[in-house]
């Protein structure tokens, strides 16, 4: 656990962490030791001369003062170190997220990462502030007390010591046996929340089929699975909790019996027996709290493990000696790319001379968008190479590569902010006039006119306050402003209505002028003006050539072209 914590934190925190733990241990031992003074105090008080207790009491008071000081320092230190670590982990996480390949950010990641990065980190770090000190004290203090008992009466001390290995064994065993149940529970929770999201998003359709909550079996099943998993978790923890209680209570009972036996036999003074039993009670409480602390530690551990997995995900390697490409032609050289066990791109070779336009056409799932993503190095290829200006993209510095490429996606994400800020993202140093010019070229000016607040209008989270077509235009303006020599277009006009499409097309034409372009599209109007067209299916090139050429050939592409232009009536 501590090792994982240190791995998550980074090893520069190993030292303060060790210091904190040492301080906590010292405090816990001090607490155990000061109870030793109870024995002479009680011996005096229960004896014939209670007044003799005074010097011992003074000593006890002094010991408590030392303990108080230690504890105060240790508490504050815990808080301070915890806060520093919190900041450290957040920064590490942020830096790491920025370096992970885009391919890593799949559909489910947003929820996962946002939970992890907000509450998750805090919970994981609460170990240091809230759980470590009680845990250490629940272990070290009883052990110290047992040592004190041994010093005063070896038989009773041994009886108490016998419980130690059992308590330790139970802790280890519980941790192991609950891990499986915890994992299952987490998985069920995850599944149920996916079902809930599905249920919410599919509401219109579900209602149309009269599938209300009670009758939507998929959801109800997963909710019941959650309940069953949580019951199993309880059952898995119960033996540990009961076992711990049994052990601690058995120890106390044995001490009680042994104490009575020894006292009755006259082998030990009444005051000693009573003092040792008071010590035993002091031992029992922290030991019993171990079950509770253990449960909390386990919850934290799983959070920590998720953080650890995330931080150990490898970012794409950066080249040691980056090469600057001079030209802007593009090349796929026997590229193979797999996603899981599916081969998405299968030994594909292709080149685009500088300043030319290549269109990629093909059925869904053919790997069209993947080609664009490989060019922008969202992923690395499994075999072969992708080259820009003759240089392998893996040998180019990411920043340099990105500076040469402008991408317009089908689904555009805008940052919460004004339209102007979102366009300026294309080139942060651009002047006011340049931003306006890009916006006009993308026909955004008419959108801006209509919006309340105009240029300063807020676009909402993800650009939610703009329509799809409007977001698309912002994204084109962004790309225009960026003025990169390579342009990648992914199904840009596919979801637009005729009015928006005309506007977007104008912008696209301006964007493509004089640049190396690769576009994925099926709107044939865009495709037919490309210098070359590639028909992709199953990750391979099925046909390639110019538009007229391909039509004459009468193959797959021609078939597509005909489908898209034949009205339904003639079928």
């Amino acid at each position: 656990m501590i090792r994982m914590l240190l791995r998550v934190l980074g090893h520069e925190y190993a030292r303060p962490m060790r210091r904190t733990m040492a301080l906590m241990t010292t405090t816990a031992i001090a607490e155990g030791l000061l109870y030793a003074l109870l024995v002479p105090v009680l011996r005096a008080l229960f004896g014939p001369e209670p007044g003799d207790a005074r010097p011992w009491l003074v000593a006890f008071g002094a010991a408590v003062a030392v303990y108080a000081a230690l504890r105060y320092i240790s508490d504050l230190n815990g808080f301070r170190v915890g806060t520093t670590m919190l900041r450290g982990v957040y920064h590490r996480l942020g830096d790491h997220l920025a370096r992970l390949p885009i391919g890593w950010y799949g559909a489910g990641r947003v929820g996962e990462v946002s939970v992890l990065a907000s509450r998750g980190v805090l919970q994981a770090m609460s170990v240091v502030v809230h759980l470590l000190a009680p845990f250490i004290s629940a272990c070290a203090t009883p052990l110290t007390i047992v040592a004190v008992m041994l010093a005063f009466n070896w038989r009773m001390g041994l009886a108490a010591l016998a419980a130690a290995p059992i308590v330790a064994a139970i802790q280890v065993w519980t941790a192991r046996s609950t891990a499986a149940a915890d994992a299952e529970r987490h998985e069920r929770d995850h599944e149920a929340s996916a079902r809930v999201i599905e249920y919410l998003q599919a509401q219109p359709v579900l209602r149309a089929g009269g599938r209300t909550a009670e009758r939507f079996r998929l959801l109800d099943d997963s909710l019941r699975h959650v309940q069953r998993a949580s019951r199993r978790t309880v059952l898995a923890t119960l033996p540990g909790v009961v076992g711990l209680t049994v052990t601690v209570q058995a120890m106390f009972t044995v001490l009680l019996v042994l104490g009575a036996y020894l006292a009755l036999g006259g082998n030990i003074g009444a005051a000693e027996v009573l003092a040792i039993l008071v010590l035993a009670a002091r031992c029992a409480d922290p030991l019993l709290s171990l079950a509770d602390i253990g449960g909390k530690l386990r919850a934290t551990r799983s959070e920590l493990a998720r953080l650890d997995t995330l931080l150990r995900t490898e970012p794409l390697p950066e080249p040691r000696e980056p090469i600057q490409p001079v030209r802007h032609d593009l090349e796929f050289d026997s590229v193979t790319f797999r996603h899981g066990d599916r081969t998405v791109i299968d030994d594909l070779s292709l080149s685009v001379p500088q300043g030319q336009r290549l269109a990629i056409v093909g059925p869904s799932g053919a790997g069209k968008s993947t080609l664009l993503q490989l060019l922008a190095r969202f992923y690395d290829v499994d075999a072969g190479a992708v080259r820009v200006g003759g240089v392998d993209v893996r040998a180019i510095d990411t920043e340099v590569l990105m500076a040469r490429i402008a991408v317009v996606f089908q689904d555009v994400y805008l940052f919460d902010g004004t339209i102007e800020e979102n366009i300026r993202l294309g080139r942060p140093g651009a002047g006011e006039a340049e931003v306006r010019a890009a916006a006009t070229a993308a026909r955004l000016d008419e959108v801006i006119e209509r919006l309340p607040g105009g240029w300063q209008a807020d676009v909402g989270e993800g650009g939610a306050l703009l329509s799809g077509g409007e977001r698309q235009r912002v994204s084109i303006a962004r790309a225009l402003l960026k003025n990169a020599p390579i342009v990648l277009l992914d199904e840009v006009t596919s979801a637009l209505d005729p009015v928006n499409e005309a506007a977007v097309h104008e912008g696209i034409e301006r964007l493509m002028a004089g640049r190396t372009v690769v576009m994925v599209a099926h709107r044939m109007r865009t495709v037919q003006r490309a210098d070359r067209i590639v028909f992709l299916d199953g990750g391979r090139i099925v046909e390639e050539g110019g538009h007229d050429d391909l039509l004459r050939r009468g193959g797959r592409y021609a078939g597509y072209w005909n489908i898209s232009l034949t009205p339904a009536a003639s079928e």
């Binding site: 009491l57 830096d95 069953r228 209570q249 994400y413 339904a568």
Partner: protein, 586 residues
């Protein structure tokens, strides 16, 4: 909340009663030590029999405590599972009845969090609090009464640490502390939203080299949070440390010993009477410690319950008491006005009749209200003013079952369930036969693709195979075709994922026809040309309407739009070298 818990009241009572018995039995061994002390310290010969009775009583008490607290905790956790399940079912049932439009203004993730995490956050309320709070208050109370019976002076002295700790509580509740707590929550929220932005926008961020910016925003939020957190901790930690210290066993023991020694040396108390204070006195701090300990969890649980209650309080879409049956399926919109937010109308007085057996195509610039208009038909929203009638009946007077038997829709945001392909297609018609499902799939141009999947129609989407956007849209079209309703609402944008989908949508429009009432957001000129009526929407109002040919002659907005696009189509068709179809409206 109370209503939700009522069926479980018996189990709750069992949890509490078992816990009380267990906790009080837990005092037995301590009392046994006290009694042992009294016997051993009393002058004269020791009664062996009495000593052993005391020891056995103490051991028995331990056993009772073990059995009862284990039972209480077991029942508590099982009960917790049941309560959570019933909460989740209630929430799901309610969410299945709220207006669909209500969802569009909320993030699905947040709602899922209510059903998932927030219900889980109630856990301490159910599983721990009743038992633990009872133990934390009943045991000290019993001990207190017992100790008062032995020596009231020393009892009061023993309470000094508790009084000190309680005196510190108000310092933790000062306005500035509470303000810090609020700042803390706000700063946490900023981290969450900056992370969402960071992750969702990552492809944009990377593609535009803006990673610096979003990254910086996250780090700023983090530093901000850490600063607030540190200030909060620094403010609280001194007081918290003070409280912890006052309640810590060494300090309590010190107070008891000083008090006891004074009383014993002055001859005011028998030495043996000190023992119960050493053993039970420490327990008196439990309530204060419990309050501090469970406080954060309780606060979190209370906030979670608040959010759950908010969702349960959303009024469901009103269902008519006496549903009226529609006559036919003419759709009428009368003076419909609608806005998502007050003061910002999206539809400003729409009057429109959709005759059975006709196709009505809507066209207009983005933001003109097209999507909103078509979503009123399946009653995602109710209009603010005016009404939508189906077969002469206001949608609000139509039962929702009846409505969905009449209206089906294919919108852009397709959602497939993690279930078999066949189930997905038959979602709206659960009892449809396989033949019907296959026929719908063929019509939607997806049958062949389904046969290519690993388990054909039994393939579970998202587990056995993933479908592309276009394929998902064709499944959704097959859904609507299978439902075979007299009214169909379609957003043609769905058709542009790939040519097959486009073809499927066109074929559906052409073959469905018959007596159906069809409303379509048109994205293709051919659709506009083939429509019976074209409606041009601008800024929430209908600016032109009529047959396409008529509108062209009128030379207004539609004609201008048409001309700008025809040139492009002509260019396309010329390249193709085929006969130009659909370049002139009928």
């Amino acid at each position: 909340m109370a209503g939700l818990l009522r069926p479980h009241i018996g189990s709750f009572a069992a949890v509490v009663i078992l816990q009380v018995i267990g906790a009080i039995a837990g005092l037995a061994p301590l009392l046994a030590v006290v009694e042992l002390g009294r016997t051993l310290l009393s002058p004269g010969p020791i009664d062996h029999g009495h000593v052993w009775t005391v020891v056995i009583a103490g051991a028995a008490g331990l056993l009772v405590r073990l059995l009862f607290t284990a039972a209480s905790s077991g029942i508590g956790h099982v009960l917790d599972g049941q309560v959570q399940l019933s909460f989740r079912r209630r929430l799901a049932a309610r969410l299945g009845r709220v207006p669909i439009g209500w969802f569009s203004r909320r993030r699905t993730g947040e709602l899922a969090k209510v059903v998932g995490e927030d219900v889980s956050a109630v856990h301490p309320f159910i599983a721990h609090t009743p038992g633990e709070l009872v133990a934390a208050f009943v045991v000290p109370l019993v001990s207190l009464i017992y100790l008062f019976g032995i020596d009231w002076r020393l009892t009061l002295i023993t309470l000094i640490p508790v009084a000190l700790a309680v005196a510190l509580v108000p310092l933790m509740m000062t306005p500035s502390r509470l303000r810090e707590q609020e700042e803390f929550d706000a700063a946490m929220g900023r981290i969450a939203s900056s992370v969402v932005e960071f992750v969702q926008g990552i492809s944009v961020v990377k593609a535009f080299g803006g990673s610096e910016r979003a990254h910086r925003r996250f780090l700023t939020a983090v530093d901000d949070f850490v600063r607030v957190f540190y200030r909060w901790v620094r403010g609280v930690s001194v007081i918290a440390a003070g409280m912890q210290l006052a309640l810590s066993p060494p300090f309590v023991l010190l107070v008891v010993l000083i008090g006891g020694a004074t009383l014993i040396t002055s001859g005011g108390m028998a030495p043996a009477d000190l023992l119960p204070f050493l053993l039970l006195g420490l327990g008196l701090t439990a309530p204060v410690a419990a309050l501090g300990h469970g406080f954060d969890d309780m606060q979190a649980a209370r906030r979670a319950v608040g959010r759950i209650r908010d969702v349960l309080a959303v009024p469901p879409l009103p269902e008519p008491a006496n549903p009226v049956a529609p006559r036919g399926h003419r759709v009428e919109l009368r003076g419909v006005r609608f806005g998502y937010e007050p003061g910002h109308e999206v539809l400003r007085g729409i009057d429109l009749v959709l005759e059975p057996g006709t196709v009505t195509a809507i066209v207009g610039p983005s933001g003109s209200g097209k999507s909103t208009l078509v979503r009123l038909l399946p009653r995602f929203f109710d209009p603010a003013h005016g009404s939508v009638l189906l077969g002469g009946v206001d949608l609000r007077e139509l039962g929702s079952r009846e409505l969905y038997r009449m209206v089906s829709f294919v919108f852009q945001d397709v959602r497939l369930l993690r279930a078999s392909v066949a189930d997905n297609i038959a979602l709206a018609v659960p009892h449809a036969g396989r033949d019907d499902v296959v026929r719908a799939a063929r019509l939607a141009n997806i049958h062949d693709r389904i046969l290519e999947l690993p388990r054909g129609y039994e393939t579970v989407i998202g587990e056995d195979a993933e479908l592309s956007g276009g394929e998902a849209q064709r499944i959704s079209l097959a859904r609507a075709l299978l439902a075979d309703t007299p009214v169909l609402v379609l957003d043609e944008a769905t058709s542009f994922a790939d040519p097959q989908t486009e073809q499927a949508v066109r074929r559906a429009l052409a073959t469905l026809g018959g007596d159906r009432t069809i409303l379509v957001i048109a994205h293709r000129l051919e659709t506009l040309a083939d429509a019976d009526t074209v409606v041009v929407l601008e800024n929430g109002s209908i600016v032109e309407r009529g047959a396409p040919a008529e509108l062209l002659e009128r030379n207004g907005k539609f004609a201008a739009f048409w001309r700008s696009h025809r040139s492009a189509i002509t260019a396309e068709a010329a390249t193709r070298g085929g006969v130009l179809q659909g370049d002139e409206p009928r």
